[in-house]
Symmetry: C2
Subunit: 253 residues, 2 copies
């Protein structure tokens, strides 16, 4: 998961495994594309290919929702779109606030995928008084002093944190106190929240570091086996770094 999930103690909600829930949006996207092309039905094999998963896994995932397929034919695209949307709660309107309108916050506000599926940017909030009133993506930025009032007036239960790391926990606390129970955190910090509040984090830096790990491993293996075309990474200054550092290095203290 490019995304780390919260450390919920395996709360299998309503019998649907967490791993399945995480894949439903993927299926929904593929199905929506099919729907736009007016494809009436789709087999588990085709849909699985479009979503990039195993077909057995997809069938098992759908089996948690109920028996929505027809043997010998496949799944009705429109019907499945509706069922998954309903299961994910996308048939209702979710007002969302974005806190921290810097580069990232502005990018999120402008992001089209927001409005597309039940999500509506109810307000943009920033701590900088100079930002107040300035429109971003057509929505005027409001000052964070009014955070609680904004949350309550709009019935917001989902908050997006795009502030610097230092401000994230304080913002989080205020959001939760005001009634927000789901938080999407872009700040590079571990947020602590009371039980019953969900936090998901998106962390660019962590994703890059995971890629770097695998990249290093690939470069190391390649240098060892010397097979295949040399990658762009395997050039120049790798002389001082062994491919697999097993030496004790410099033990401090």
């Amino acid at each position: 998961m490019a995304t780390g999930r919260t450390h919920r103690p395996a709360t299998r909600s309503r019998g649907i495994p967490e791993a399945t829930v995480a894949r439903l949006p993927l299926y929904l996207r593929a199905l929506t594309a099919l729907s736009e092309r007016s494809v009436p039905t789709v087999s588990s094999e085709e849909l699985a290919a479009a979503a990039g998963v195993n077909s057995a896994k997809l069938r098992k995932d759908f089996s948690y929702l109920g028996s929505y397929g027809t043997r010998g034919v496949g799944y009705d695209v429109e019907y499945l779109v509706y069922q998954i949307s309903r299961e994910l709660g996308l048939t209702q309107d979710w007002p969302v606030v974005i806190v921290g309108i810097g580069n990232l916050g502005a990018a999120l506000a402008n992001y089209g995928g927001f409005a597309s599926r039940g999500f509506r940017v109810a307000a943009l909030i920033d701590a900088d008084p100079a930002m107040a009133g300035k429109p971003v993506a057509g929505i005027p930025v409001q000052h964070s002093d009014d955070l609680e009032k904004i949350i309550q007036d709009n019935g917001v239960s989902i908050g997006v944190i795009a502030t610097p790391a230092g401000a994230a926990q304080a913002v989080c606390d205020r959001l939760v106190a005001a009634g927000v129970t789901s938080i999407l955190n872009f700040a590079p910090t571990v947020l602590s929240v009371p039980d019953g509040v969900d936090v998901r984090k998106v962390d660019l830096s962590i994703e890059l570091q995971i890629l770097a790990f695998h990249e290093q491993r690939k470069a190391g293996e390649e240098a060892a086996s010397d097979g295949g075309v040399p990658t762009a990474a395997a050039r120049g200054e790798s002389a001082d770094q062994g491919p697999d550092g097993d030496m004790p290095a410099v033990m401090p203290a």
Copy 2:
């Protein structure tokens, strides 16, 4: 995972489980914070709390790297920072290109966490000729015609895709052909890549949908049990939607 991981067939690289690799950056961040506060040593219990994980899990994670702790004392912060950095490949320099300099791409280019740990934005690439030469985050945007040359000249092996969904696969193909072997994808599409290429995806829309699922579940449970303070979500127009829709709904065809 905000993060969904690639469907690699459980490639346990060098004996370090994938789940552990995904947590190493988290530990590294907590350790760096300790290091800046000049804390000399830390116990698994303290560090686990800071990283938001179970202490036994943390110890097992570290055990894959080697025996770097001292019983009765804990872990040497500086030493551990170095070991994890080395394991993740952050002791070397990773030039990165960002393709697609829209709102998101610009936000990524400006993101400080990029440069902080071994990553260096080598180039910004966009398909819009009007963008060419315009500086973003102090780096002039280059046209995508020169993509292959840029990759090769800079020895880039990690690419970030921040283009619209429609362009993502084509950009991906060109990146891979030019020698990129790790891709961080922000476009809402499933990318198909040859073996040996890692893809991690960051998908705002998917994260929000997962939150919506849990949010809906919470609202449903609350309406059923009627315990605790009503959340901001449990207001108004939930009359037409049963808390647990088990009725057959409208079966098409």
